[in-house]
Symmetry: C2
Subunit: 472 residues, 2 copies
């Protein structure tokens, strides 16, 4: 393993009593050191052991976050932003101690500017809540990572998910951020214009910075008119390769599909068991088409033709909203369905993304690698973008399995890197991929990232220990 343990106890710092006192004075009952509260803020969906912060503050405003940062900064004490706790790479684990900045109560939608197709929200707003509250406007926010993540967390990890093939990722859908810097200052990175050439792109710099450069407190997002027509389809294939070839050709022809998800037969089996569905247990693609009635139909026909050319069968339609919802709920629950295949297991999920022409080699290569493991594994993902996840269900108490899983994970990532791909399409680096990031971009690029970090946060108080090691 080339990943040094991130849980080095000598880096953990206890909460300075003077800071504890100051936090209690400033935040009253919204500052907690109760162990249940700390435990809750010390775990995410990653396979890492819980690593709680020393205290938690439930912030109510940007100004409160700024005050909190100023207090912690005076003690050079770490701060870790916390949204919904749905990250997958240990982003919120308090490996050096610190205060968890819980933003979940900053959950107001501040401004819906329907005429501009924008919305401004507090960082703790959840994805589903946002779309629920947008319903009456005829607009929606398309980015959908599956989990009901917070918008702030989605910014911090540069999240994407099932709709990214058409609508892009958080990178493309954030217009502006309000950020509290390590100095305790509040900046707004941009206005609400759709494009701008005004100076360095601070917005994109904070997106994907995993809480290490600043704490995002407010976000202005692009919205889209709800399409006149939305339809979904399921199609089965004789082989994984045939399914993937269908997606590749669809992308290469420029069909503007809204979603295209691949699920291997094992994933479908897990979903059937978990969601009581009766999907055929074969390599499967889920599609969604958005447009006018005519254009959505035209897209669907094109894709159906391409699928047929690759042996696709049982093309099933879901045009009614409730049928589409059932289908996508099944997809979204796939991760949890997989987990239930092996009670008591923890899942390691890869997140590679490759240029689209290499997708078939990347997925079939991953399957061959996974077959060397002695535990259940599944493949699924956002194949229209070249991104997929291998899910490895391991017994976290069995060091042999853990070691083997890490080795297979390494092999899958290296295969993607050899194809000019990335170790993470959407989950982020966190604790787990620090070594892979170096392999992917090289020492000199990491050095630039380090310099940015030190320029923004010289005391290294913002989510220390994540993305890269600060010492060269």
């Amino acid at each position: 393993m080339n990943h040094p343990s991130p849980f080095l106890s000598e880096l953990r710092r206890p909460l300075p009593p003077a800071l504890a006192q100051a936090l209690a004075a400033r935040f009253g009952e919204r500052f907690s050191v109760a162990s249940a509260v700390r435990e809750h803020h010390g775990r995410d969906e990653s396979p890492f052991p819980p690593t709680p912060p020393e205290g938690v503050v439930f912030a109510h405003s940007t100004q409160e976050v700024a005050d909190l940062v100023a207090l912690c900064r005076a003690h050079r004490y770490p701060l870790i932003a916390f949204g919904a706790g749905s990250s997958l790479e240990g982003h919120l684990l308090a490996v050096q101690g610190g205060i968890s900045v819980d933003l979940s109560q900053m959950n107001s939608i501040l401004a819906v500017d329907a005429d501009d197709l924008t919305v401004t929200v507090q960082a703790g707003v959840l994805r589903k809540q946002l779309n629920e509250q947008l319903k009456s406007t005829g607009l929606f926010f398309p980015i959908d990572p599956g989990a009901d993540a917070s918008i702030g967390g989605m910014c911090a990890t540069r999240a994407s998910g099932t709709n990214a093939v058409r609508y892009g990722t958080m990178r493309e859908n954030v217009l502006s951020l309000t950020v509290v810097t390590a100095d305790g200052k509040v900046i707004r990175t941009a206005g609400r214009a759709k494009k701008s050439s005004a100076g360095y792109d601070l917005t994109r710099l904070f997106i994907g910075s995993e809480g290490t450069l600043g704490i995002i407190t407010e976000i202005t997002l692009k919205l889209y008119p709800l399409p006149e027509a939305m339809s979904a389809a399921v199609v089965n294939f004789p082989t994984m390769a045939a399914a993937v070839a269908t997606v590749i050709q669809t992308i290469q022809l420029g069909v503007p599909i809204a979603r295209s998800e691949f699920l291997c037969e094992r994933t479908i089996r897990a979903i059937n068991a978990h969601s009581h569905t009766t999907l055929r247990e074969a390599p499967t693609l889920f599609f969604e088409f958005h447009g006018t009635e005519a254009s959505a139909r035209e897209q669907a026909e094109l894709v159906q033709q391409i699928a047929r050319d690759h042996g696709g069968q049982d093309f099933e339609w879901a045009s009614r909203p409730e049928d589409r919802t059932r289908l996508w709920n099944a997809r979204h629950n796939a991760y949890f369905a997989c987990l239930q295949v092996r009670p008591g297991c923890r899942a390691i999920s890869t997140d590679t993304c490759v240029p689209i022409s290499r997708l078939a080699d990347s997925i079939t290569g991953a399957r061959a690698i996974l077959d060397k493991g002695n535990f259940p594994t599944m493949l699924l993902g956002h194949v229209g973008d070249g991104n997929f996840h291998a899910v490895l269900l391991i017994n976290p108490d069995d060091p042999v399995e853990v070691e083997q899983a890490e080795r297979l994970n390494d092999e899958i990532v290296r295969l993607a890197l050899s194809m000019d791909g990335t170790c993470t399409g959407e989950h982020g680096i966190g604790l787990h991929k620090i070594g892979f990031l170096v392999e992917e971009v090289g020492d000199d690029a990491i050095e630039l990232m380090r310099r940015i970090k030190l320029a923004f946060d010289p005391d290294n108080i913002l989510n220390p220990g994540k993305i890269f090691r600060l010492e060269a």
Copy 2:
């Protein structure tokens, strides 16, 4: 005027003789101090007086650029990247002296990965050359700023143009950059995967950095399949407000138009005179529709209906490639057509961009402001993005006109900023908008930009004097 003159002679540094000797030894005849060569590299399309560099190096490879940076760095001597010389804000003017790094001979297309919809080019490749060489692949690169700019320069200014309403800007269409840093190191910011959450977004940080953080030498771009159908249309309106309202409604309904350009009646008059066209001299919209035959037709019908609702008339079609080309050539030559309205003049072009709902107020407000001037002015732009340009044709030798133009320019920018817009949608900050950038994002955000600059380029040798003033 709140813009201090950028042409402070005390900042100009002559070329150190030892550096001149070293450059001659390394680059032979491709290092020039000839005054004609220097003059050519000291002017762009901005209204600023020519400000030549002290020498020019014609680079042939990334390694040569790295060697050049290392040589200049040893003397702490400035370097200014030069592509096609089409920038509009004085980006390439050598206000502190320096060596112009001419990348125009780095004009090879390194790899067309048609199956991945990507292409990798050297920075000096020109936009039109790229699409010419892509023709046989059935793919194209849509970003079109009008000028036949270099791809490297388009990255450096975060360029966009007429197609951005559908395809996005350089921000959305660059996958990876090869960059020479101020240390003379060569980094590649990312692989070719369509999306990634791997660390800080160095790609987006260099895009729009105007040569101040590194010298971009190679670029991997996204490509798109040439649409099955492309058609263009021209429609006239009784008023500017009616034309703009048509665009706003088109955007709000989510019609995926490929281009929507506004031209005021004065711009049309200039075009008719310059391009020998017979367009009706009224507020006019040019549209382009991309898609399958059916979807392009459907879009066109929708837009025609919206235009009619706003009094649009004389809907004229151009489906044949040669007709479309003539139309868009007329649009692209609009800037030069405007210049000819007043022989000997120089043009100041504003570049504001506002949230779409404020576009009508922004444009009619700009018209009212311009009417206070004693010189010809026109309005045109990429209104689907909320971006437009006011062109002010002034006598550069008349200080009264210059001062008045700057004042009107200030008013137009402040109006856009009051609408949560930006001072520059696509031209960049350069020398001219340093003061506006401060107004737009505030001192604390500028301070972060300064820190990035100093972290990347502590000796301030990369295009010094642009975007912001380095001293706080």
